[in-house]
Subunit: 360 residues, 2 copies
């Protein structure tokens, strides 16, 4: 076991280490001494399994969200805002989120809107939320037309990444988090990608020392990108590697059955293939290398692995989802494609024929 | 007639003058040359009367809002976001709002949320929107628990205050706007208050030269406050003069029948009375002076003038509405009270007994 690491990333302290849940209340009382009220917004399933570990939260009101992406609806936003009003939150209050990326997205949006902005503290309980979703202040809900189409930038006041909780995460959610881990490693550069490759066994065993080190590396890498460009006006777009494909896949799957990180892994595979097809790729071995890593981590290497008769992920539906890619104009999606580890083209236009070929 | 005045206020150009509607499209084409699509979000009644004046808007999609405060609901936000998606807006698009304060509040919130932020241009068509609501970037919807309880800060890209349109505003809406005019004058200082007093007749006749001058003065005064404190962390609170009372009155009236600016006038009267009661007031003649001005402008001088058997504005309901005052903790509203023209205490706690006395 390693001790807690507290790092500053994107102007927000991120606490990483085992058994942190117990200390969240102490942190709030000590560091945010002007807080008048707390509202816990929690994934119901996480709350059931880990809520008792939140020392000092007896009597704190709880607003429960459904597990997973279904939490990111306008209806859930309405219920969460009503809870803020019912519990008498003021601008001196703090919302504490407990859950994965969907929870922090919805709780963060609620915090940014109620009375035009309360503080939010994220307790990230999934690997994906710890390495990616909780960092950087993006909040969102989904609209019928596409994923994350409405949201804000609202930096959290603190983030807690309790690594011991990761022991209890389902194998599927674990794999999903690894999709974002590989994405972040590809962006951070050779050293981080090599770290992941060299520690695959320890990662799969969820060795908490290695996992804490991994989370820290991801937080630092993403934090550096976000600090440079908090509102995604330029360089931050690199974090969307694989995401235009991933959002389309999740949209086509009706936001159920395919975890975000798994879709991201598939999206990275597609981005590598696209880069190869248009001769952008300079490191010709990269697709094979990433492919091998995905295989060892249990992540999909092609879209075929995600398809089933019940989930056809039809190219026509995927193409439609691209229309609302936030990086481009309507109907002109822009893709982040890799040239090599750590080097990307952030705004590639791909023609329709190539896209349909890739998605077949 | 005076020519168009273009002033920079809170980092946003505000165009003030007669017959500006015709030039909005030219402005967008010239100044925002990267815009890919435009969505007009318009108050249906204003659109009907003035839409034809929007030269170059043929073929621009329109999303229609109901007139007045009812536009500021989560349901209307949902419909507006869906319109953004349906019309294929991207981050390069611009939303143009056409209407009063409720329209710019809802359109501004929609713009700040869709794809995490599009540009918005406000065409402010009511006096209240021209002198106050469109300036400063606050957006909001109402929640069942209270007025403006969910929203963002999202600065517009440009504001058009077409003064000729003010000739067509209903007498009630005109008076409502004058409530915010007096508020701004009290904040701006003696010169501006004297300007209003000296020009009452011209204002009531809607002399467009005087009105344009009045709008400019208000925009400059509010713009200066907002520029100093864009996120209302301190000095901007002064703009809430009369508003804690006003929001409670509007809440108690079910957001119908009492225009915001009329409620603000009543709120200013109550703030003056409160300041007198707690010996905060240094300028003992101020209540009488404001009272006289309100009388000449056709604005209410006491809450009794707003009460009717169908609209009792019961003290108990008003007291409940205070609980969610955004300047204080829950149940501890903070009032902006005047000491003299241009001088205020921004965070006064009033005890329950005094409040009930004032509201009787």
């Amino acid at each position: 076991m390693i001790a807690t690491i507290a790092i500053d990333s994107a102007a927000c302290p991120v606490h990483i280490g085992p058994e942190l849940l117990e200390g969240v209340r102490d942190f709030i009382d000590a560091e945010l001494s002007d807080v008048d009220r707390i509202l816990l917004i929690a994934d119901g399933r996480v709350l059931e399994h880990h809520g008792a570990r939140l020392r000092g939260f007896v009597g704190v009101p709880v607003h429960v969200l459904p597990s997973g992406e279904v939490a990111k609806s306008l209806r859930q936003l309405e219920l969460a805002l009503a809870a803020c009003a019912d519990e008498g939150l003021s601008r001196s209050s703090v919302i504490v989120s407990l859950g994965g990326g969907a929870t922090s997205d919805l709780a963060g949006l609620t915090a940014s809107l109620f009375k035009r902005g309360l503080r939010v503290v994220h307790i990230a309980t999934s690997l994906l939320a710890q390495v990616d979703a909780s960092i950087g202040g993006k909040t969102a809900i989904n609209l019928p037309a596409g994923k994350n189409l409405a949201g804000t930038f609202h930096a959290p006041t603190a983030i807690f990444a309790d690594t011991s909780i990761l022991r209890t995460v389902s194998p599927l959610d674990w794999r999903a988090g690894l999709g974002e881990v590989v994405k972040t490693a590809l962006i951070a550069g050779e050293a981080q990608l090599a770290f992941v490759e060299q520690n695959v066994d320890a990662i799969l065993e969820r060795d908490l020392d290695v996992v804490a080190d991994l989370v820290r590396r991801c937080v630092e890498a993403k934090g550096a990108v976000v600090t440079e460009d908090p509102f995604e006006e330029g360089p931050r777009r690199v974090l969307n590697l694989g995401h235009t494909f991933a959002h389309a896949i999740e949209f086509a799957a009706g936001y159920t059955g395919i975890a975000h990180g798994v879709a991201v892994a598939c999206g990275i595979g597609l981005a590598l293939e696209a880069a190869q097809e248009i001769d952008l790729l300079e490191d010709a071995d990269l697709p094979k290398r990433v492919n091998r890593l995905f295989g060892r981590l249990g992540l999909p290497r092609t879209i075929l692995e995600l398809r089933s008769p019940m989930r056809p992920l039809a190219p026509s539906v995927l193409m439609r989802a691209f229309e609302h890619d936030k990086k481009g104009r309507f109907g002109e999606p822009r893709f982040v494609l890799p040239k090599a580890v750590g080097r990307f083209d952030l705004s590639v236009k791909l023609d329709g024929e190539l896209l349909e070929h890739l998605l077949r």
